[in-house]
Assembly symmetry: C2
DNA sequence: GTACATTTGTTCGTATGTATT
DNA sequence: TAATACATACGAACAAATGTA
């Protein structure tokens, strides 16, 4: 269950797998602070670039969130939202750009659900858009 | 409209912004091959790491897809799918792990829409799951 | 409030391996 | 075979944000 530098699977992916397993098993619960990058290097080996690659994988999957000067924590699961759709309404799921992420105040790895209304029988005008995000 | 190394905004984000704009404007249409990393360095400056960071941003946003030995292309927009939900059915949107990505055959930046059925009044058993992906 | 240590962010350089053309 | 292009990995340096004594 350790990291094998001679494996076909890249070291940074092995480390991401290992940490993902710890998150899913509850060994690293939501809100928990992950070890800092230097501690990861001591514990698992590899250079800083490799450690940061593994973090980037988990961040992109929405499992962790990183803050400069503080550290990296396990994210709390996204909340659920309910959206009512009518005939002709359209909805697409996509990943926001990082500019949108800043404006919406969401972390990396959080998909958004964008609804375009077809009829004016609700509180919106036709063509208006609603964007739903999960914290 | 060029890149300013002295700006507060990191160079790799500026480059990502610039390329994202070219993609959204149609200057880089779906399927188009982006310049190689060395050409990007000649054209925009910066080291290879900086170029690759910008690419990683756009890949995570689902705008481009990269293949080793071939290059990086603008992705075609994701297809639309329709899912019928009944009372009690639950649906969550999330980003797959890279293991799931390989199994489902989807690129980076593609969110999945996972439906959990509550009733057995359709073709599925209660608790069964359907995963919808957009190409 | 200041000073300092800690932690992540960004950028550069170099080298080697693997896949495609 | 050779050239091209991306993937992985290591090392180094400085900047920026945070937390603490």
């Amino acid at each position: 269950m350790d990291i094998d530098p001679d494996s076909d699977r890249p070291v940074y992916r092995q480390l991401a797998d290992l940490l993902r397993e710890q998150i899913h098993s509850g060994q690293l619960p939501p809100g928990a602070l992950l070890p800092s990058e230097p501690r990861m290097q001591q514990r698992y080996g590899g250079c800083r670039d490799t450690i940061r690659r593994a973090m980037a994988v988990l961040r992109a999957e929405g499992l962790i969130a990183t803050k400069q000067g503080e550290g990296t924590r396990v994210r709390r699961s996204a909340q659920r939202h309910t959206v009512h759709l009518g005939p002709g309404d359209q909805a697409i799921i996509r990943v926001p750009s990082d500019l949108e992420r800043r404006e919406l105040g969401v972390d990396e790895g959080v998909p958004i659900f964008e609804v375009t209304r077809a009829g004016a029988d609700r509180e919106m005008f036709p063509g208006d858009r609603t964007t739903i995000v999960g914290g």
